[in-house]
């Protein structure tokens, strides 16, 4: 099986075989345009096509038609003339990330969809990625790098970056996106173009800055070395927030778009699974900020308090048992908590020696979930009290 490092190494090796022109401005991509076969850009596309073939069959690609249609519809509203040449892949991965390969393969991670609050925020981010594609930033970056260093040095720099492990083949496109580490100017240009695309398509321009406002809060508490991948090669979030907010302030607010917002409804069936993916990262400080934001937005509080309890139970710091129990109790008071809340509450009570409360919670779980497939285990727990 090819590893990301191997794939990237072969991609770059093939590029090294290709005599390439010095860096410089290139024309925007026309709809459906493919690079001439005798160019370095064609070599890049060919390698991306191979990686995309792996991605297409990956177990981490989410294939739900409604979710894919949601992302795709926004891409098509942003760039109608290019949309049939762009392939969208929703990737199950808990991080804020999206990437756009130069051949038109776009990957959007579920961690991004979880954090985005509405169609407009997603439109801004997708517009940003489309801008990299349309402006052919990858090949520009490669040529600039090749022109400024000798080929062997460029090769070793790039393969070193490629060795950063992510989540398998699903992340290869993102890894390659990172390799070509777009310059700060390219990022600013993509921000600007993404912003213009969302405005032209009728989305609320103020939402572009709102994306960064929310992420800065997470960024401030993220585990060291675990900052969102999207930030790795990008200008500081604060700088982007200020630039986008100033631009939005200069524009009139759009009329009548909010009523068409589908993001919450389309992603709602997935939110619990995506929150579970976030907790699996064990970056509890970041997950806590995210959960608090979702709670403040007033989503399904039964679910959200349950996950807050799960966070404390899994973290297991001093005092977390009590915080977890409080969160589970709050979840149950809403009347919409999942039945698993009782089971988790039972486990927490058990761990602190409140055996009567644990017994009651486990009994409540079996009542609330009569067809529980772990019934035999929970009944075995009850025999110990």
């Amino acid at each position: 099986m090819r590893t990301p490092r191997n794939v990237v190494a072969s991609a770059l090796a093939s590029l090294l075989w290709t005599a390439c022109a010095a860096g410089g401005p290139v024309a925007d991509l026309s709809p459906g345009q493919r690079p001439a076969l005798d160019t370095d850009e064609a070599g890049l596309w060919m390698q991306m096509d191979r990686i995309e073939a792996d991605l297409r069959t990956s177990g981490r690609v989410v294939r739900d038609p409604a979710l894919n249609a949601h992302v795709r519809d926004i891409v098509c509203r942003l760039a109608p003339e290019h949309c049939r040449f762009v392939r969208v892949y929703v990737v199950q991965a808990a991080d804020f990330n999206a990437s756009m390969a130069p051949n038109g393969a776009m990957s959007v991670w579920t961690g991004l969809l979880l954090r985005v609050e509405n169609d407009a925020q997603l439109a801004y981010l997708l517009g940003h990625e489309l801008a990299h594609y349309l402006r052919r930033h990858s090949v520009q970056r490669w040529r600039a790098m090749h022109a400024s260093t000798d080929a062997a040095t460029a090769f070793s720099m790039v393969t070193a970056v490629a060795g950063v492990g992510l989540v398998g083949v699903a992340a290869q496109l993102a890894t390659l996106d990172g390799i070509f580490a777009f310059s700060r100017d390219q990022e600013r240009e993509a921000d600007l173009i993404g912003f213009e695309m969302m405005v032209d398509a009728g989305y609320d321009p103020r939402q572009a800055a709102a994306v960064w406002r929310a992420l800065i809060a997470e960024l401030e508490v993220a585990e060291e070395g675990a900052q969102p991948i999207f930030f790795a090669s990008h200008p500081a979030a604060e700088e982007r927030l200020e630039a986008l907010a100033a631009r939005a302030d200069a524009m009139p607010a759009p009329q009548g778009r909010a009523s068409h917002d589908r993001h919450d409804a389309v992603t709602e069936p997935y939110r619990a699974a995506w929150l579970r993916d976030e907790l699996r990262q064990r970056d509890f400080a970041r997950a806590q900020v995210l959960l608090r934001r979702l709670i403040d937005r007033g989503g399904d509080l039964g679910d959200l308090y349950y996950f807050e309890g799960e966070l404390y139970r899994l973290r297991g710091d001093e005092g977390d048992d009590a915080k977890a129990a409080d969160a589970y109790e709050a979840a149950l008071e809403t009347g919409t908590a999942p039945p698993e809340t009782y089971r988790s509450l039972g486990l927490v009570y058990w761990s602190v020696g409140r055996l009567d409360d644990a017994r009651l919670a486990f009994e409540d779980y079996l009542r609330a979930r009569p067809d529980a497939d772990d019934r035999l285990m929970v009944e075995a727990y009850l025999q110990q009290f």
């Binding site: 990956s58 177990g59 699996r280 970056d283 486990l347 075995a380």
Partner: protein, 186 residues
């Protein structure tokens, strides 16, 4: 040059780590000196950092892994990304151990990991648990698994059998059931 003996020792040690040996199907096998089992099948056996891995067709298609005596704070698998891995805690109940296994497999890169049918079942003479797994690999291959384990004296014993749902998992499923039934503590 004075590092040469150390380098040689390291390379020999690394080579030893990947030596596969054939399991004699008719002889009880010791698992890290903690318990023994009847192997049923002439598996190819390799020790990977204290984990016994047995396979016939290759680990990508099917394998049985024995994790003997995982201790508090230890992790179950290696992650491909950068943040902290789920770790075993000595006070975990079976529900939490199942969660620990599922989260670890997901962090190792599997997609759509599901665990079902958690139930009590003895692990040799120890009170233990069983559950079933399903997940997708990076390549989209559908995998099935079964997990048997027991936590005792602050240590977790786990046996994880997994294989491609199509053909390979069912191929040795009954043999693995008999292996688990044959556990005797040493």
């Amino acid at each position: 040059m004075r590092h040469l003996p150390a380098l040689l020792a390291l390379s020999i040690a690394l080579a030893a780590c990947s030596i596969h040996t054939l399991v004699d199907e008719n002889t009880r096998q010791s698992i890290a000196g903690r318990y023994s089992v009847d192997p049923q099948v002439a598996w190819s056996r390799v020790n990977q950092g204290g984990v016994e891995l047995w396979t016939v067709d290759g680990p990508a298609l099917e394998s049985i892994r024995f994790y003997p005596g995982l201790r508090d704070g230890e992790t179950f698998m290696t992650a491909r990304d950068r943040t902290e891995l789920p770790a075993f805690r000595a006070d975990m109940q079976a529900s939490e151990i199942m969660e620990f296994v599922v989260d670890s497999i997901a962090r190792a890169g599997a997609g759509q990991v599901q665990a079902t049918g958690l139930r009590p079942m003895n692990f040799g003479p120890l009170p233990g648990f069983r559950f079933e797994l399903s997940y997708l690999t990076d390549n989209g291959l559908e995998m099935q698994g079964l997990v048997a384990g027991a936590a005792t004296d602050g240590e977790l014993h786990l046996i994880v059998y997994s294989g491609a749902s199509l053909y390979y998992f069912p191929k040795y499923e009954d043999d693995v059931e008999r292996i688990i039934d044959s556990i005797e503590m040493l």
